[in-house]
């Protein structure tokens, strides 16, 4: 326990640097772009339009209600895929810092996942706009539910980013393998697909129900699209997974932190 507290103190001592890195990442992406930060909202929104038009046609869905379903899927999936793949390069990206300064290494995955969550929150305004249009009665529940949901997402993104960063720095095949694995997971998850599309096969439906992604998505979708909080099952499931991931991430980090520098 004592080591955990002293580790957090070291992270806290590096807070100004950490905040600066995060701000830089959010702003830097748009340096010299005309629309700047607006892209964070526009990009998923426009992507949703395209997908809703195509999928709506293929699966015969109403675009007005199917679009926010897809948008919520994209927003959450972006966090997951960033945590598993993109954020994996957090140590490699920070090589110059790691080789010069003894800041706790955990701050680099924290940086990456904070950026994911902040981008998620910014992009969520696009979803709010849509919901205001089609389900105005859901907005209040959506707002109330968001802080806890974002917190759970952050813990997950942080833990996964720590693990993926340690994996990637040691095994450079990591992103290639994981992007395939992630693709598979995508097909098994209701990111764009609706529950009724998993009913064709009982096995597929069982997978749908036990798939953590389903429940993670519910935290977002129930309040925004149905106007009620997600089921207790979904909260308990998501929180337990976040807790397990955090414990795994912590133990991986305490075992591997010191030697990261040799793999850079």
């Amino acid at each position: 326990m004592k080591t955990v507290i002293s580790y957090f103190r070291r992270i806290y001592n590096a807070r100004f640097f950490l905040i600066h890195l995060v701000r830089w990442d959010i702003k830097f992406k748009f340096r010299r772009s005309k629309l700047g930060l607006l892209w964070t909202i526009l990009q998923p929104l426009l992507l949703t339009m395209i997908i809703a038009a195509v999928f709506g046609f293929v699966f015969k869905q109403k675009v007005g209600t199917y679009a926010p379903y897809i948008l919520s899927g994209i927003l959450v999936w972006d966090i997951i895929s960033a945590a598993v793949i993109g954020n994996g390069s957090s140590f490699i990206q920070a090589e110059a810092y790691i080789k010069q300064f003894a800041h706790p290494i955990m701050i680099y995955p924290i940086r990456a996942s904070l950026v994911s969550i902040i981008n998620f929150l910014i992009a969520t305004t696009g979803l709010f706009a849509w919901v205001l249009f089609v389900y105005p009665q859901n907005v209040l529940t959506a707002i109330i539910s968001l802080p806890l949901t974002a917190f759970i997402y952050f813990i997950m993104a942080w833990s996964i980013s720590v693990i993926s960063s340690h994996m990637y720095v040691r095994y450079r095949d990591y992103p290639f393998v994981m992007s395939l694995a992630l693709q598979l997971l995508w097909y098994l998850s209701p990111v764009f697909f609706k529950e009724e599309m998993f009913l064709s096969n009982p096995m597929l439906h069982v997978l749908f129900v036990v798939n953590p992604i389903t429940h993670i998505l519910m935290l977002m979708r129930q309040p925004f699209l149905s106007g009620c909080f997600a089921d207790t099952v979904s909260y308990v499931y998501s929180l337990s997974i976040a807790a397990i991931l955090l414990i795994v991430a912590w133990s991986v980090n305490s075992k591997c932190e010191k030697t990261v520098i040799y793999y850079l």
Partner: protein
């Protein structure tokens, strides 16, 4: 807090070779079917082997030795960047290290932004760095270029800026790794003066260098490292004279 000190007891530091001994699938298969000679197995590099010393407040220690003797490794072990494989290092006081100055710049950001960026990296707060910004700009002699992206700087300008920022931050224990030779002659003179100022405020200096005259100017004790071990530790002239004699310089 008490007095500043560095205590190293029987410190070992090995660079693991596993990283370099990894084979690709192609290598493994080709070696198996004898299409390729087996890769030479590299051994761990023993950079520090049983180094012990105690540095107390007021001491300014020069570390000398041939290339690869473990000088920079020792400095980075003290800074906590490389994990030691054995022994113990204890430090009382805050560490300020000046290693590779030009590393870690955001070249797309302006000079001014980079001052904030590096200042925070070095442990300053946004407030304290703001107070120091003008001094840094003046010292680096960048003029209006401070608001240009660092990308557009000459290498000399980058070094001047890096030096100005890094030496703005004070610490109890100052670790210097061969940083002279930055910028043109005029700036060098200024830089030397600045370093002297830093050394005066620091309670302990550990300075790695091949430049004996700099060591003689700055230090009151010298440690001679040879193949990861301390060969000699004592007053400046004695150790340097012996080093020069043995190395036939």
């Amino acid at each position: 807090m008490g007095k500043s000190s560095i205590t190293a007891k029987n410190v070992y530091l090995d660079y693991p070779s596993t990283v370099y001994n990894r084979k690709t699938l192609k290598q493994t298969v080709f070696e198996l079917i004898k299409l390729q000679k087996p890769q030479k197995i590299l051994h761990d590099v023993h950079a520090l082997r049983g180094v012990s010393f105690e540095i107390n407040e007021g001491e300014r220690v020069g570390v000398i030795g041939h290339n690869g003797a473990g000088k920079s490794t020792l400095l980075k072990a003290i800074a906590g960047i490389y994990p030691i494989t054995g022994g113990e290092i204890k430090i009382n006081g805050t560490i300020q290290s000046l290693f590779d100055l030009s590393v870690g710049f955001e070249i797309d950001a302006t000079g001014r932004e980079n001052i904030a960026y590096r200042g925070l990296l070095l442990g300053e707060t946004p407030k304290s760095i703001k107070e120091k910004t003008q001094d840094i700009i003046d010292f680096a002699e960048l003029g209006e270029f401070i608001d240009y992206p660092v990308k557009s700087y000459s290498s000399g300008m980058i070094v001047r800026l890096a030096f100005a920022i890094s030496t703005m931050v004070e610490g109890d224990v100052l670790l210097l790794d061969e940083i002279f030779g930055a910028g043109d002659a005029k700036f060098m003179k200024k830089a030397k003066k600045r370093i002297m100022g830093l050394i005066e405020t620091a309670k302990i200096l550990v300075f790695v260098s091949h430049d004996f005259s700099a060591v003689k100017d700055l230090c009151n004790r010298v440690i001679w490292l040879d193949h990861g071990q301390i060969k000699m530790d004592g007053d400046v002239d004695t150790v340097i004279n012996e080093y020069v004699r043995v190395m036939g310089l």
